[in-house]
């Protein structure tokens, strides 16, 4: 009796996953272990391939060949680079804080891995299967964990990753890393807000924090990208790019200003960990975008319920969608020049946060209106009018503060 109660409590705390809802036996542990190992190895492999892919694609875009020496098509270039980094001398500045200096790369790398745990990568969402697959006689989801906090884990982890960068810059005992990490922290904290507000629109539509439920709600091409009206997706993508510190938001590592940014003083495998974390985050963020807005692994399975319909086809759809977003991040990097620091802050605080908040309020108004049986057109128009008034006030206040700032002459400027 107590054990059943305990397992229910554990299951309630840990997951909505049917795997943990009954007795937790050895098979259950085995299934969990298999999922963890597969996800870990798969993610590591995908990152190695992502580095290669990015270099190849960007070379294509710049009339070059890219890596083509190590292995067929240069596929082993990342492994060669990794080996080289491992055998390099591990340096630590004399003024560095040794413990934090060593801790920081792990703080950067581990959240990047953990985020991927909540991404469903396969499982059929058609025919009322709800993404449930059967492994070793146990029913489970094709994701490492489905905790009740669900997508909030992603927000928590992306916030934790800031610590890695901030502490790396702080513990280096050197000025450029510190400047880089201050920039990174400010930028990531600013865009976290826009990211969260764009996410809120998705949660409003899905009605659940669980990634499995979010994907399930999007089955049959009822993708959130149009269910939420495109705006949250655009804001989420921009904020995610900033959150990843990828171009055009790579001010953290602006070589012209900050040498290497927060990882200037890192060498050898510690640098490799930062590098790995950066590309891990790119893959994970693309997977999160696919999960939130493009229905994750859901897609036509042509009525198949065998292993092809449950594993192969859903994974194929997931991978296809993932590839599109990886290409998008590469395209951003190849095309867009880096923003100036004040432009980044302006975009984040003055445009993305108000826009995402406004759109969220609009969706809330429509949702409340439909719940209460109000006239949807009138509700929508009233909400839009209210938002426009708010935007107008916001623009006025921004202009007023800018005029005020210009009126004050800075010390050493003019007479």
């Amino acid at each position: 009796m107590t054990s059943t109660l305990q397992s229910h409590v554990i299951a309630g705390m840990l997951a909505n996953d049917p795997l943990l809802s009954g007795e937790v036996g050895l098979t259950t542990l085995l299934v969990v272990l298999i999922k963890v190992v597969v996800a870990f190895v798969g993610l590591l492999l995908s990152v190695i391939l992502m580095v290669w892919f990015e270099r190849k694609v960007i070379a294509d875009m710049q009339n070059r060949f890219g890596p083509n020496r190590a292995g067929p098509f240069g596929l082993f270039q990342t492994i060669a680079d990794g080996m080289k980094l491992i055998f390099k001398e591990d340096l630590m500045p004399a003024r560095a804080d040794p413990f934090v200096f060593k801790l920081a790369p792990f703080l950067s790398l581990i959240p990047a891995f953990l985020t991927f745990a909540i991404v469903p990568i396969a499982g059929s969402f058609n025919d009322g299967l709800d993404g449930v697959v059967t492994i070793l006689g146990q029913q489970t989801f094709m994701q490492v964990a489905d905790p009740q906090i669900g997508i909030l884990l992603f927000l928590a982890m992306s916030s934790l990753a800031i610590y890695g960068i901030m502490l790396a810059g702080w513990a280096s005992g050197s000025k450029y890393p510190l400047l880089g990490s201050v920039r990174a922290t400010a930028q990531m904290v600013s865009y976290e807000a826009a990211l969260g507000l764009a996410l809120a629109s998705v949660l409003l539509i899905a009605g659940s924090l669980s990634t499995n439920a979010i994907v399930n709600g999007q089955a049959g091409f009822r993708w959130n990208v149009w269910m939420t009206g495109l705006v949250p997706f655009v804001i989420f993508t921009i904020a995610a790019t900033a959150e990843l510190n990828r171009p055009p938001f790579d001010l953290v590592e602006a070589e012209q200003e900050l040498v290497g940014g927060f990882h200037t003083e890192y060498s050898s495998f510690r640098f490799a960990m930062f590098f790995l974390a950066e590309f891990l985050n790119t893959v994970t963020m693309s997977a999160i975008i696919v999960t939130l807005f493009f229905g994750g692994p859901s897609g036509p399975t042509f009525g198949l319920t065998n292993w092809v319909g449950v594993y192969i086809l859903p994974f194929f759809w997931f991978f296809l969608k993932l590839l599109v977003f990886l290409c998008m991040f590469v395209l951003f990097r190849a095309t867009l020049p880096r923003f100036r620091y004040d432009q980044v802050m302006d975009l984040g605080w003055k445009l993305l946060i108000p826009a995402s908040l406004g759109w969220f309020l609009l969706l809330v108004a429509v949702r409340v209106g439909s719940d209460q049986g109000w006239n949807l057109v009138a509700t929508g128009l009233a909400a839009v009018a209210g938002l426009l008034a708010g935007a107008f006030l916001l623009i006025l206040s921004i202009r007023a503060s800018a005029a005020k700032r210009e009126a004050v002459s800075l010390p050493g400027e003019g007479t």
Binding site: D60, M61, N63, F65, T335
Partner: protein, 268 residues
């Protein structure tokens, strides 16, 4: 829409990998090599006369002019019975330290006998410091007049032996004097005879004049409006027949006979 146009350009490059807009410009280096510039400065050689005598006279001017202090020379009197070089003395120690050499070519300009010139070889790497110090035995051309190919040197990179000497030297010898541009005033070399002056690089210097058109224009200048063109004393191009590309006959060495007139013309 400026940003979106930028995306368009990048995507065009990406998709058009095989087309003209996306054609790749990379040279696959170890397999393909690009032609080296006319006046490339590479590894040195010590030249010999056509009869096999060494050109170096051990005067140490190269060592004196070297800004990196990488050349070490010691001269010695020739054995009258069995001379190494035609003159009184010869260089019996000649060493260049390639860990210091900056390939500035000043030694080549300083040399009064064109004994030291630079090839276009740059692909040489050593695994120990002793290899980096080239001795006279390694620098001296072999009995066929070609540079020695040492084990740590890669001579496969599209070298033309006939072109393998300092281009600047072959345009302006003796001793890098610009008054001698285009005039053969150097002795023959073992294996090559008297080398041609470097015409191609001289024409590049005179500006973007289409080939062929230049001679006609100059001829007209001579015939009709006098000295319009010749007011510019820096004009290095000469249209006198004696300075057109020399043939490879060793007898052309005699063309240095018209040096005084040439010098006068440049001097005015």
């Amino acid at each position: 829409m400026g940003y979106l146009n930028g995306f368009g350009v990048v995507i065009k490059k990406w998709i058009g990998v095989k087309s003209a807009t996306g054609a790749r410009i990379t040279t696959q280096y170890p397999e393909e090599t690009r032609p080296k510039p006319e006046r490339f400065h590479g590894r040195h050689v010590l030249n010999r006369y056509e009869d096999g005598m060494e050109k170096c006279i051990g005067c140490e001017l190269c060592a004196g002019v070297c800004p990196a202090k990488c050349i070490y020379v010691r001269g010695q009197d020739n054995d009258p019975e069995n001379p190494t070089s035609p003159g009184e003395r010869f260089g019996f120690v000649y060493e260049i330290n390639y860990l210091r050499c900056i390939h500035c070519d000043l030694c080549v300009e300083a040399c009064p006998t064109e004994a030291i010139t630079e090839t276009k070889l740059f692909e040489f790497a050593f695994t120990n410091r002793a290899d980096a110090i080239y001795t006279k035995d390694e620098l001296l051309v072999d009995d066929s007049g070609h540079p020695q190919q040492l084990p740590w040197e890669n001579w496969s990179g599209g070298f033309d032996p006939a072109q393998d000497s300092s281009g600047w030297m072959r345009a302006t010898a003796p001793s890098g004097d610009a008054d001698f541009v285009g005039i053969v005033a150097w002795a023959g070399e073992l294996g090559y005879g008297v080398r041609d002056p470097q015409r191609a690089s001289i024409e590049v210097e005179s500006g973007p004049v289409p080939a062929g058109a230049h001679h006609d224009d100059a001829a007209q200048d001579h015939g009709e409006h006098g000295d319009a063109d010749h007011a510019d004393p820096t004009e290095p191009e000469s249209t006198e027949p004696e300075s057109t590309p020399a043939t490879k006959t060793p007898g052309h060495f005699d063309s240095s006979a018209d040096l005084p007139e040439k010098k006068r013309r440049f001097g005015k």
